[in-house]
C-alpha cells in the first residue's frame, strides 16, 4: 500500500507516494525526480546520499521515506539560487574539489550543515564534518581547502537555512 508523504523540499512543498519500506533516497530520486543525492552503498558508509533534514546532515539511504513527513529537506538541487551558485559550489569549482563528482553532492550538504552551524570552522571542524563522506578519487585535501575558502567568502543570500 502506498503511503502519502508531504514535506518541504528545498523550500517548496513536495508530495509523493512512498512504497512501504522505501528509503528517502529512492523517494527523492524516483518519486520526486531530484537526482542530486546519489546511491553509493545503501548502508550508510559512503555519505554520497547526504541530505539536510531540519538543518542536520542525514543519510537518506538509511531513512524511511515516510519519516520525512512534515520535515524540511534540503538537497544539492537547492543550493544554487538560479544561476547564482552557493559559495561552497564556487569554492569547489575553483579549488578543483571534485574529480568524478559522485561524492560531491554529499560533500556539499555535509559542508553546508557545518557552515550553517559554524560560519568560521577550523580545519579540524571541516575534517570532522566530512568524516562520514568518502571520496575515492582521493581529493580530500582540495575539498577541505574549498570548504575553508567558502567559509571565508562573504555569506551568500541563499546560503542560510530557511
Amino acid at each position: 500500500m502506498k503511503i502519502p508523504v508531504t514535506f518541504t523540499l528545498n523550500g517548496t512543498e513536495a508530495a509523493a507516494f512512498a512504497d512501504p519500506g522505501q528509503n528517502l533516497l529512492e523517494l527523492l530520486r524516483r518519486g520526486l525526480g531530484d537526482l542530486t543525492p546519489k546511491f553509493g552503498c545503501g548502508q550508510g558508509t559512503c555519505g554520497t546520499c547526504t541530505v539536510l533534514i531540519d538543518g542536520e546532515p542525514q543519510l537518506s539511504c538509511l531513512i524511511l521515506a515516510e519519516t520525512a513527513q512534515g520535515r524540511d529537506v534540503r538537497t544539492t538541487a537547492g543550493l544554487a539560487n538560479g544561476p547564482e551558485l552557493h559559495p561552497l559550489q564556487t569554492a569547489f569549482m575553483e579549488g578543483f574539489a571534485a574529480q568524478c563528482g559522485y561524492c560531491t553532492p554529499g560533500m556539499l550538504m555535509a559542508a553546508k550543515a557545518l557552515l550553517d552551524r559554524n560560519p568560521s570552522p577550523t580545519r579540524d571542524d571541516v575534517i570532522e564534518a566530512i568524516s562520514g563522506n568518502l571520496c575515492r578519487c582521493t581529493g580530500y585535501e582540495p575539498i577541505v581547502e574549498a570548504i575553508l575558502s567558502a567559509a571565508r567568502a562573504p555569506r551568500h543570500s541563499t546560503g542560510r537555512p530557511a
Binding site: T36, C41, T75, F92, M93, C100, T104, R136
Partner: protein, 667 residues
C-alpha cells in the same frame, strides 16, 4: 618491421616549461558536479523500469547439479528469469576484440562456477526488492569442487582445473608458452661472475577499485528499433562491442550513452552489465536496470590482480647490477579479463627504470578460484615496481651503498637500450632521485649529484641489444605432460642464442607477435615451417664469432669522450660451437641433468590449441560452447621433419577474429 609510435614522433617536443603545475584550473565538467546535475547512468528515469539481480554461486568452485526456479517464477513482481541458454553468445573474453585470448567466460554460467559470486541466472522483477526476494527463492543444487586460491598451488600437478578453456591454469601466450618470457643477454653467465647474488620475494594483494558509484547499466528499447544503454562503463567501445557480440545484435542497433563515470579506476572496463541489461530489455520489451549493490561491487567486482614476484640480482661490489631475473605470478582469478594483458604490459616494463645488461623474466597469468582480476590504475606495473624498489633497497643493503646512489648508478639514461629492445628516451630517474634527496635533506655524494640522464646513455653496450640466450621451457603441451617447475631456466631443456641486435621478432625475447590480421608479414613466427631448423628465428645471418667474455664494463659516470667506447658485455660461448644461432638439437652443456634426461625432438608445428586433458562436458543448460574455428588436430609430433609441414593456421582473413564465433558479424 618496426612500429612507429606517436610518443616517438613527439619525443623531441617535450615542453619542460611546466608553468601549469600548481595553478588551479576550472574543469570543464565541474559545473555539473557541484550542482549535482552531471548525468550518471542511474540519473535517467524510465517509466516501468525493471530491476535485475543475479543468482550467484556461494562457493569458490562448484558444479551445478540442478536449478529449481519454480518458486522464484511464482514470486511477486517477477517478470522474467534469464538463463544461460537465453544468451545468444554466452562465451566471451574481453580482449577477444583485440584477438587476444580465447572466449573463456560465460555471461551467465551454465554448468560450473569458478569463483564465489559468479552469476548463474538473472532475475528481472518490477522492484529491486522483488528481484532480491526472487533470487533468494531460486534453489541451486551445488556440488562443491576442490578449489585453489594460491597461484603456485594452482600450477602444481593435480591442482583443480579452474577454467576449462585453459586446462593448465595458465593463460597461453602466443599459443605456445604457459608464461610470458623476456630474454635479454645471458643472466646465467652474468650471475657466475657477479660479486653478490641478491634474492627476494614480494607479494601484493588484490585491490578493489571501490568506486563510490557501483557498476551498472540501464537498457531500454527505443522507438527506432534500437536499444539505448546508459552505462557506467569506462570503456564505451569495449562495452558496445561486447554487447553486440553477446546479444547478437549489430552494433548499429545499440545506442550507448556513457562518459559520466562515478569513479572507475579500471573496474568499469569489464562490460558485463551492458549485455545483460540489453538482453533483459530485449526479452521483456521494457527498460531494465542491472546495478551492483555495494556488497557485489566488493565481492564480485574484479580487482587488481594479486602478484607474487621473485627477483634475483647479480651485483658487482661497486653497486652495478649486471643481471636480474624475475619470476612473476599474476592471480587472474577464474577468468582472464585483462590480466593476460597486464602480464605483457609488465614484461615491457622490466627490469624497471634501470639499465641492466642481462635480464630474464618468466611471468605467469595464473587462474585460481578467486574473483577474476582486471584493470586497476597502472595494473601490471605498480605491483612489480613495488617489488623492484623493495629489491633495490635490499641490494643497497647487501652491497653497502646508499640506496639513492644505487638507483642513480643503475638508472636509465637517454639512449640506453631497454630489455624489451626499445631505446630509453626522456629519462628522468636520476634527476628525480636528486630532487628527492635534496628536498628530504638526504646527503648524496658529489659524484651522484653530478650525474644526468642526458649524459652517458647509449654508449657502447648500453645502447645495444646483446646476444641473447633463450630457452623453450614452458611450451604448451610440455607442461601438461611433465609439469615443469615454473622457474626461469631451471627447467630449460633447450637453449638457443639470438644474435646481438635482434629486435622483437621472437616470443622468447619478450615482445608478442601482433594480432594476426594486423601483421603485414606473410607468415607469423612460430607458425611457420620453412627450410632450416624448425621454428627458426629470423636471425639476420650467423652471429659473429664471440670473443671471450670481458670483465663487466663500468657504467660511465661522467661524459665519456668520443672514442673511448666501453667494451660490450660478456657474452657466452655459443652452445653449439659454430656461432650460428639455431635451436640446438640436444641439451646444452650447462643444462641440468633432469633436462638432459628428457630430450625432445623439435616440434615443427606447435599446436595453436592444445587438446584438453579431459573432454569438456556440454553446458548443462544448453548453451553451446563456441568451438575455436581453427583448432588444429592434435597430430602426433613429427619427429623427423624432413619434409616440413605447412603451417597449420588457416589463411588470414583480415578483420576476422578466430576467437569470435557465433552469429555476430556481417548483418
Amino acid at each position: 618491421m618496426p612500429v612507429e609510435f606517436r610518443k616517438d614522433l613527439f619525443a623531441d617536443e617535450r615542453d619542460d616549461n611546466l608553468v601549469e603545475i600548481g595553478k588551479p584550473h576550472i574543469r570543464q565538467d565541474i559545473l555539473g558536479h557541484v550542482t549535482g546535475r552531471s548525468p550518471y547512468y542511474d540519473d535517467h528515469l524510465f517509466d516501468g523500469l525493471l530491476h535485475m539481480r543475479c543468482v550467484r554461486s556461494p562457493h569458490h568452485h562448484a558444479r551445478i547439479r540442478s536449478i529449481d526456479t519454480s518458486d522464484a517464477e511464482r514470486a511477486n513482481g517477477v517478470v522474467r528469469i534469464i538463463r544461460p541458454s537465453d544468451v545468444p553468445q554466452n562465451m566471451n573474453t574481453l580482449l577477444a576484440l583485440l584477438n587476444f585470448g580465447r572466449d573463456d567466460e560465460p555471461l551467465l554460467t551454465p554448468e560450473k562456477t569458478g569463483y564465489r559470486g559468479e552469476p548463474v541466472l538473472a532475475v528481472i522483477a518490477t522492484t529491486e526488492a522483488a528481484a532480491r526476494d526472487a533470487v533468494a527463492k531460486v534453489k541451486v543444487d551445488w556440488e562443491e569442487l576442490p578449489h585453489v586460491l594460491d597461484v603456485e598451488e594452482a600450477l602444481k600437478p593435480g591442482a583443480p582445473v579452474v577454467n576449462a578453456t585453459y586446462p593448465n591454469n595458465t593463460f597461453d601466450y602466443h599459443d605456445r608458452y604457459d608464461h610470458q618470457k623476456l630474454r635479454f643477454g645471458d643472466t646465467q653467465a652474468a650471475f657466475t661472475r657477479a660479486d653478490h647474488i641478491v634474492e627476494g620475494e614480494y607479494q601484493m594483494s588484490p585491490i578493489e577499485q571501490a568506486p563510490i558509484e557501483t557498476c551498472g547499466a540501464i537498457a531500454s528499447p527505443e522507438t527506432n528499433d534500437r536499444f539505448v544503454c546508459y552505462t557506467s562503463t569506462q570503456a564505451l567501445f569495449f562495452s558496445v562491442a561486447v554487447s553486440a557480440k553477446q546479444t547478437a545484435l549489430p552494433s548499429s542497433r545499440l545506442h550507448f550513452i556513457g562518459g559520466t563515470v562515478g569513479g572507475g579506476f579500471g573496474g568499469k572496463v569489464d562490460s558485463h552489465h551492458e549485455p545483460l541489461a540489453i538482453l533483459g530489455s530485449m526479452l521483456t520489451g521494457r527498460p531494465v536496470k542491472y546495478q551492483w549493490d555495494r556488497a557485489e561491487e566488493m565481492q564480485v567486482g574484479a580487482p587488481r590482480s594479486g602478484e607474487r614476484w621473485r627477483i634475483k640480482d647479480g651485483v658487482m661490489n661497486d653497486g652495478r647490477i649486471i643481471a636480474r631475473e624475475f619470476t612473476g605470478f599474476f592471480d587472474a582469478g577464474a577468468y582472464t579479463r585483462l590480466t593476460s594483458y597486464g602480464v605483457q604490459k609488465c614484461t615491457g616494463h622490466l627490469p624497471g627504470p634501470y639499465t641492466i645488461p642481462n635480464v630474464a623474466s618468466n611471468t605467469y597469468c595464473v587462474f585460481t578460484n578467486r574473483t577474476p582480476s582486471t584493470a586497476m590504475r597502472g595494473f601490471g606495473i605498480t605491483g612489480v615496481d613495488f617489488s623492484i624498489e623493495c629489491h633495490m633497497d635490499r641490494v643497497a643493503d647487501a652491497v653497502g651503498i646508499d640506496p639513492i646512489e644505487l638507483r642513480i648508478l643503475n638508472a636509465y639514461r637517454d639512449g640506453d637500450m631497454k630489455a624489451h629492445r626499445r631505446t630509453a628516451k626522456n629519462c628522468a630517474l636520476i634527476e628525480s632521485c636528486q630532487v628527492v634527496a635534496q628536498k628530504s635533506g638526504w646527503a648524496l655524494s658529489h659524484d651522484a649529484m653530478a650525474q644526468s640522464s642526458l649524459i652517458g646513455g647509449g654508449i657502447g653496450w648500453r645502447g645495444e641489444i646483446p646476444e641473447t640466450v633463450i630457452d623453450f621451457a614452458g611450451e604448451i603441451g610440455e607442461r601438461r605432460s611433465n609439469w615443469i617447475d615454473p622457474e626461469p631456466y631451471a627447467g630449460a631443456k633447450q637453449r638457443e642464442l639470438v644474435a646481438a641486435g635482434t629486435e622483437n621478432e621472437h616470443p622468447a625475447t619478450g615482445n608478442a607477435p601482433q594480432r594476426e590480421d594486423m601483421v603485414i608479414e606473410a607468415e607469423r613466427l612460430g607458425f611457420k615451417v620453412s627450410d632450416g631448423p624448425p621454428n627458426a628465428m629470423p636471425v639476420p645471418g650467423p652471429a659473429p664469432a664471440t670473443p671471450p667474455a670481458p670483465a663487466d664494463p663500468p657504467i660511465p659516470v661522467a661524459p665519456v669522450p668520443a672514442g673511448t667506447v666501453p667494451p660490450p658485455p660478456a657474452v657466452p660461448t655459443p652452445l653449439n660451437g659454430t656461432g650460428a644461432p639455431r635451436r640446438s638439437t640436444g641439451p646444452g652443456p650447462s643444462l641440468p641433468a633432469a633436462a638432459r634426461g628428457a630430450p625432445q625432438p623439435p616440434q615443427p608445428t606447435p599446436e595453436p590449441h592444445p587438446p584438453a586433458p579431459a573432454p569438456v562436458p556440454e553446458p548443462a543448460l544448453g548453451t553451446p560452447r563456441p568451438a575455436p574455428t581453427d583448432t588444429a588436430p592434435p597430430a602426433a609430433p613429427d619427429t623427423a621433419p624432413a619434409a616440413p609441414e605447412p603451417a597449420q593456421r588457416p589463411p588470414r582473413r583480415p578483420g576476422v577474429s578466430r576467437f569470435i564465433s557465433g552469429p555476430r558479424g556481417r548483418r
